[in-house]
Structures are given as C-alpha cells and as structure tokens.
Symmetry: C2
Subunit: 122 residues, 2 copies
DNA sequence: TCGAATCGACTACGCCTGTAATCGAAATCG
DNA sequence: CGATTTCGATTACAGGCGTAGTCGATTCGA
C-alpha cells in the first residue's frame, strides 16, 4: 500500500489536489509558481507518483490527464498521525500544549478553538 | 544551521534525549530494544549525527561520550511547525479541527484541551 | 509535405539514508 | 608478552530523491 510521498512530489500533489485532471504541462506551469523546476522534472515526479499509485492517469488523445488517487485529507491525516505518534505518544493534547508553549496563541485563537471544541462535544 | 535528522537517526536521538552522556555501546544496547540494528549501524548513525551537529562527543579515556546538542523540545517544535506550515497554513486551529473530523480526539482529550486553554488564558 | 514542437519513456547522476563490514590502534586478558 | 577484544574511522553498497537530458514517435503548423 501507499508508499511515502516525498517533499518534491508533494508540491505536485498540491497542484493536483487543487485542480484535476491536468496534463503534465499544466501541472508544470502551475507548479513553477512555487518551485523553479523544468518541465522534465515535473514529468519525472508525475511518473514516480503514478508508480506509487498516489495519482492515476488516463489517455486523452495523445497525452495523459493526471488525477490524485490519494485524497489530501487522508494524506494529511496520515502525516499528522505520524508526527503525533512519533513525538507525543499518540496523544494530541501534548501537541497542543507544546505549541501553546512555543508560539503564543492569541486570545482570539484560543476563543476560536474553544468554540470549535464546544461544537465538537455536541 | 541544523541539518535534518533522518528517521533512523531519530531513534538514536531519542535514546540520548532520555539519558546522556552515553558511549556508543550504551546507545546501541538501548536502541536495540526498538530496532534490530548492529553496533556498527548505531556507530554510523552517531557519527553522522556528530557531523550534523545534532549531538556532541567528548573523549572519556579512549572512547567517546555522546550527548545531544539539540534539545528534544526544539526539535519537536521544528517538526510540528513544519507540518502545520505545510498543511494547515501555519495555523493550529485547522489542525485541531482536522483531527477532530478524523475522530482522533476522544471526549477526554477535548476536556483536557479545554482545561489547558483555560489555564493559558490566565 | 517537411521541419518544429510536444509527448511519454528511459537514462543519468550526485547526494542522502539504511544498513553494515573492515581496518588500524589501543587496551585488556591470560 | 602475545592474543583477543574494543574503539573510532573509513569504506561499501543498494535504494530513494532531486533535478534533469535525451530519444523515438507523433502531431501541428506552414
């Protein structure tokens, strides 16, 4: 099952998560906004992602249209869980505490989170 | 500044964060509890960590004693921030919301977080 | 129709990572 | 003292990753 998606590949995934299906050229032109890559590089990343079954492609005339097979939400969930498992014994609370200590959450942030939690309880 | 610590190297860091200074052999015997590595492997990881300046060593007789140079807290903070920046636009709230949606938060977790937030407000 | 552009496939190549083995110097054991 | 163990240092090597170039086929433009 799902191999790990690398940092560079992730930039490609983000593009496809935002809009799909896209051709390799379309992906490249969108990805170039954030990374200075050649078309060839983007093509390599696309084919590696196909191999990993993170994205799929189907022929449209003589080129491929690429689409994500992995949902952003589930990928993000997996990565979040990895982090929390590795560093916080699988518990979210210590993460929140940790972040709270590090960066100061604004009073508004706190109120917002509290509201969210209250909603979640019902 | 600080190069990235790899997954395997992290297992070594965890040992040293728990107890230090330690000799290579000591680290190896502790790390073997979780990963099935040879002493040689642990030594390689130690020397790579020294190169990366994630740990330091000083001679004790004819061997080295190794100690972390990077604090666990600041490393974890960095990794957490990376994740939150990459996936949640740098804001904590969406992470909490996300985990809530994935149902990775128990009712107890929520109560605990609420208590924590209340403390933080004062 | 013929050259130019484009496509996907394949190849390249250096660095990092995981996982060790080996080597020479030193120390310890007998 | 000589043999064995133990250290750190050096070397190894395959696979993944970042970053691309090249090639053969196709299609498009003139």
């Amino acid at each position: 099952m799902s191999e790990r998606i690398s940092e560079a590949e992730l930039a490609v995934m983000e593009v496809l998560w935002e809009e799909s299906p896209l051709t390799a050229t379309d992906v490249a032109s969108r990805v170039v906004a954030s990374r200075d890559w050649s078309l060839a590089t983007v093509k390599t990343l696309l084919s590696r992602l196909v191999t990993k079954e993170a994205i799929g492609h189907h022929l449209d005339g003589r080129r491929f249209l690429y689409s994500p097979l992995v949902e952003r939400d589930s990928y993000v969930a997996g990565e979040s869980k990895r982090l929390i498992d590795r560093f916080f014994g699988g518990k979210l609370m210590p993460l929140v505490a940790h972040l709270a200590e590090q960066e100061e959450l604004s009073a508004d942030d706190i109120t917002e989170i509290e509201r969210l939690l209250r909603e979640m309880k019902s």
